[in-house]
């Protein structure tokens, strides 16, 4: 007899428990309850978001595999495919930042190499609480060193990302890690088990008592005692992951593997059930054969452990011995722990007794899906601008020296961003660029989200996150191919939060459709709230694009003095939700900038065409902080200054700091041809100044030296981390 409080402890509602009784026709035993509760957790089942996720566009001629597998797969030509996904490790990283972040990296890497791809790049999107919050510094230090500790050791470059601070994340930080791999397009591996009688094989690390019920933890809000959950955090071992990576890729070069699935959230439970469900087969496991780290582990612990660096595979008959040799060579455990069956059930034996016997399909089919009630967010009206002005260059200096825009060098110098010898564009630009090994082609990568836009208007914010990712890829000279999304929100059982989720997904869908930028993989992280206080809605978009010729790409650094600077796209001076209002004029509010997807596409295609034809090689997208911040970033990246002239009759602050979308800055020796072509294409393009000297000059508003701007830009992060 299972007591109601045990059911509640497993995160199951009364209704959900009744459904289990109905399917089994009896009470579950504790092992079965643990298995089903993990399967039906928000983290594994997406029960609150699935109906809305289904509205996202997922197809394009270049998509080989969309959502539902371990990662998305897109065709990148020459018989190769890019395999990529982003995933959150928010809850564990708040509790134990080093291991939480490290195992987040390990988990997302397994998702990629499970599919047969060699990982070639890592990215991350991080959100921390206010810099003034007493925990923030500790969390930043732990997360950054955890990400570096794992990626540096396994030898996969961490090439970029974004980091933000806001008091809304004081009690729930976000750690989203993205991995990208490259595979032969005709050698992709899937989780679909098949072949009754085929051996089910466990490889990798031994199973320990760590991380038990991590998936259930990640499906609940925090209360005051979050630290007490530390035993649910897993411990990472990047060296073992390196062995597992090499061993798996070595075995994948043969034809031994029928299906493969990593053991991530909910460990052996979810890998076994997913493989069985996808293949429509049953699976019988003898848990006595599972390699364990310590004696006396019971079936419940073995099935729900989230020990890292483990994989489950179905092999072809007669492949056991050659496969075992590969894993022995790499010093890893290899154990045949079961067989596929024709029963459609997962049957577990331990100590010679049956400890669980549950039907796969009915439990998967009956997994709860909720259409939770929601209330849409009403976008705010534009407040009157404060009468107190500010000198533009003073505002620039404050912004670029503040937490939002200060240089992230302190972070990315702790990540080996060059290992593997193919990093073409290092962190700090619009997009990272990785050469496709052995070719002259490359992939461009970015992660983007502007949570303050999403909070003010979820739908516009969702559109903007996609548009900015697309624009960052375009600005590097890439053809944007596809998206992986990481939807981070609060408690979906609150209608206001659910409204944010719905709005953002709708906005993402609209933008992805308009920009031919399908969603091929992703992750949803809900319940990011503590004591009833939710994070800002943070739908992080990871974008991947293709560069056909690495000699024809663009970077943000000015190339030479004396070049024309051209603003592409219209500047209306939209200050709602701008950094100028929030961080300088202390008057946050208003609606975020509108995203006209037709204009976005038109302007972007024009810019990309110019870069692809070799006419433009210096380009930067205009986003947070507006035009003057973009200009300063181009100058700081090159050490070359600029002189710009605001047009007659405009409000200088709005023109310089407005965050209108669909804009780029480019610099080139002579702008006439570009401006002419833009006019013909119906794309606004205006020469706003020239590159020159070692200062930034805004005509009529003075100048600031690059040396002092650089000092201001670089100083904040090291000073903050040093506690000064």
């Amino acid at each position: 007899m299972i007591a109601p409080e045990i059911v509640a402890e497993h995160g199951l509602s009364e209704d959900e428990y009744a459904r289990i009784l109905d399917i089994l026709g009896r009470e579950p035993n504790p092992v079965e309850l643990g298995i089903v509760s993990a399967m039906w957790s928000e983290h594994c089942s997406y029960k609150s978001s699935r109906a809305w996720l289904a509205t996202l566009p997922t197809e394009a001629p270049w998509v080989i595999c969309g959502p539902g597998e371990n990662a998305g797969v897109v065709d990148i030509g020459d018989g190769r495919a890019a395999v990529f996904k982003i995933e959150s490790h928010n809850h564990p990283s708040f509790i134990e930042p080093y291991q939480g972040a490290a195992t987040g990296v390990g988990g997302i890497l397994r998702d990629v190499f499970t599919m047969g791809a060699r990982p070639v790049a890592l990215m991350n999107a991080l959100r921390f609480g206010s810099p003034d919050h007493p925990r923030t510094r500790h969390l930043v230090a732990g997360v950054v060193s955890g990400i570096g500790g794992y990626g540096n050791c396994i030898g996969i470059p961490t090439v970029g990302g974004e980091t933000g601070f806001d008091s809304a994340y004081d009690g729930n930080i976000l750690v989203n890690a993205m991995a990208v791999g490259i595979a032969d397009a005709d050698r992709i591996f899937y989780a679909r088990a098949s072949g009754v009688g085929n051996p089910v094989v466990y490889v990798g690390s031994k199973t320990g008592r760590d991380g038990i019920h991590g998936a259930t933890m990640a499906s609940a809000t925090f209360d005051a005692g979050a630290e007490a959950r530390r035993p649910t955090v897993q411990v990472g071992d990047p060296f073992t992951e390196k062995l597992l990576l090499e061993a798996c890729l070595e075995l994948m070069a043969t034809d031994a593997i029928v299906a493969i699935q990593d053991m991530g959230a909910a460990g052996l439970t979810s890998s076994a059930l997913e493989m069985a469900a996808k293949g429509g087969v049953g699976i019988a496991l003898d848990l006595d054969r599972v390699p364990v780290r310590e004696a006396g582990m019971d079936a419940y612990e073995i099935m729900l452990s989230e020990s890292q660096e483990r994989m489950l595979m179905v092999l072809r008959p007669d492949s056991e011995e050659p496969a075992a040799r590969v894993f022995r060579k790499w010093g890893l455990d290899f154990a045949v722990i079961g067989r596929l069956t024709d029963t459609g059930r997962v049957a577990l034996a331990h100590g010679g007794e049956s400890v669980a016997d549950i039907p796969v399909d009915p439990l998967v089919a009956a997994a709860p899906r909720y259409r939770r009630p929601y209330v849409e967010t009403e976008p705010p009206a534009m407040p009157p601008l404060p009468a107190t002005g500010v000198a533009p260059l003073d505002a620039l200096e404050r912004l670029i020296a503040g937490p939002e825009l200060a240089s992230r060098r302190w972070i990315w110098e702790q990540y080996d961003h060059m290992v593997m010898g193919d990093t073409v564009a290092r962190p700090g630009g619009d997009a990272a660029v990785i050469r496709i090994h052995g070719s002259a082609r490359g992939i461009a990568l970015t992660v983007d989200c502007t949570p303050r836009y999403c909070a003010a208007d979820p739908r516009a914010g969702g559109r903007q996150a996609v548009a900015e990712a697309w624009r960052n890829l375009v600005a590097a000279g890439a053809r944007p191919l596809a998206v992986t999304d990481n939807l981070n929100f609060g408690d979906p059982q609150r209608p206001g939060i659910m409204g944010q989720l719905v709005g953002c997904i709708e906005g993402i869908g609209e933008a992805c459709r308009a920009l031919d930028f399908p969603v091929v993989s992703g992750n949803v992280s809900l319940y990011n709230e503590t004591g009833g206080r939710a994070i800002l809605p943070t739908p992080v978009i990871g974008g991947l694009g293709l560069i056909d010729d690495l000699d024809r790409r663009a970077s943000i650094a000015f190339a030479a003095p004396g070049q024309d600077i051209v603003a592409i796209g219209a500047t209306a001076g939209h200050l709602g939700q701008s950094l100028l209002l929030r961080d300088v004029l202390a008057s946050p509010g208003g609606p975020p900038p509108p995203v006209d997807l037709g204009i976005e596409r038109r302007n972007g295609l024009f810019v990309r065409d110019r870069i692809a034809r070799g006419a433009v090689s210096v380009c930067h997208d205009v986003s947070d902080g507006g035009l003057l911040v973009a200009l300063a970033e181009m100058a700081l990246a090159s050490g070359i200054g600029a002189e710009i002239v605001p047009p007659d009759g405009v409000d200088a602050l709005a023109w310089l700091f407005g965050e209108d979308q669909g804009r780029y800055l480019v610099a080139l020796p002579a702008a006439a041809g570009l401006v002419e072509r833009a006019a013909a294409a119906g794309v606004p393009a205006a020469v706003i100044g020239r590159t020159a000297g070692a200062a930034l000059t805004v005509s009529g508003h003075g100048h600031i030296s690059l040396a002092s701007l650089k000092q201001a830009h670089e100083a904040w992060f090291p000073r903050f981390m040093a506690g000064r």
Binding site: N152, F239, E413, T423, R426
Partner: protein
């Protein structure tokens, strides 16, 4: 030049190093697994960067006692050129083929960035294509790059001209800003910076290429 690249299970710059060697020498190096006690006949043995056996103990400490390192030591004593980059440098010191040790960076953080170096000797098989005193920019990427040795050892390295490269702006606290050292025969070089990561313009620098070209020319 015939070359071998040693591959430990946690090596992660083995491919990068092989690419740079092949580009300079015109032939691919042999990749030699850490359990192999035999080495092919080669003119150069390269020990690449990475985390040989995870380096949870002191970096390179376990690798120094691997079967392949016994073979490397024997070849080194017989005069075969040996290049250790990053983790390879750590392994060479732990194996006693070079003096001193690489400790945790003075700032206690991993450092990945371009650093400015000075070429201290341009008359060796590794550096003959550089000008003496030349300024180079090469990337570093390490947690444990802080070169430490006793005073007598540093004095000997300086006095005998065994410092290969020196940091111009010491990133990790290394004694005498040492970035790389030779053994007394100048046939063994250990260095923390990564020349193989700066051997192609598309990767942001070419200052490392001459090191591989020097070897290819010297050991042809």
């Amino acid at each position: 030049m015939r070359a071998a690249v040693i591959v430990f299970p946690g090596s992660n710059c083995d491919r990068d190093t092989a690419v740079a060697i092949e580009a300079a020498a015109g032939r691919a190096p042999a990749m030699v697994w850490h359990e192999d006690a035999e080495l092919p006949a080669v003119d150069l043995i390269a020990i690449p960067g990475g985390f040989a056996y995870g380096d949870y103990l002191r970096s390179g400490a376990m690798a120094a006692h691997s079967p392949v390192m016994r073979a490397v030591a024997a070849r080194a004593r017989a005069g075969t050129a040996v290049l250790g980059i990053c983790n390879g440098f750590q392994v060479l010191t732990e194996a006693g083929l070079l003096p001193g040790v690489l400790m945790r960076n003075a700032g206690l953080r991993f450092i990945c960035r371009d650093v400015a170096l000075r070429v201290e000797r341009a008359d060796t098989v590794f550096t003959r294509r550089y000008a003496p005193g030349a300024a180079l920019t090469l990337p570093v990427a390490h947690n444990d790059g802080n070169y430490v040795a006793d005073r007598a050892t540093i004095d000997r390295l300086e006095g005998e001209g065994l410092v290969a490269f020196r940091y111009r702006d010491n990133p990790n606290g290394s004694a005498a800003s040492i970035a790389g050292i030779f053994d007394p025969t100048r046939r063994i070089l250990g260095m923390m910076p990564h020349p193989e990561r700066a051997a192609e313009a598309v990767l942001g620098g070419t200052d490392g290429r001459a090191l591989f070209e020097s070897l290819a020319e010297s050991l042809a």
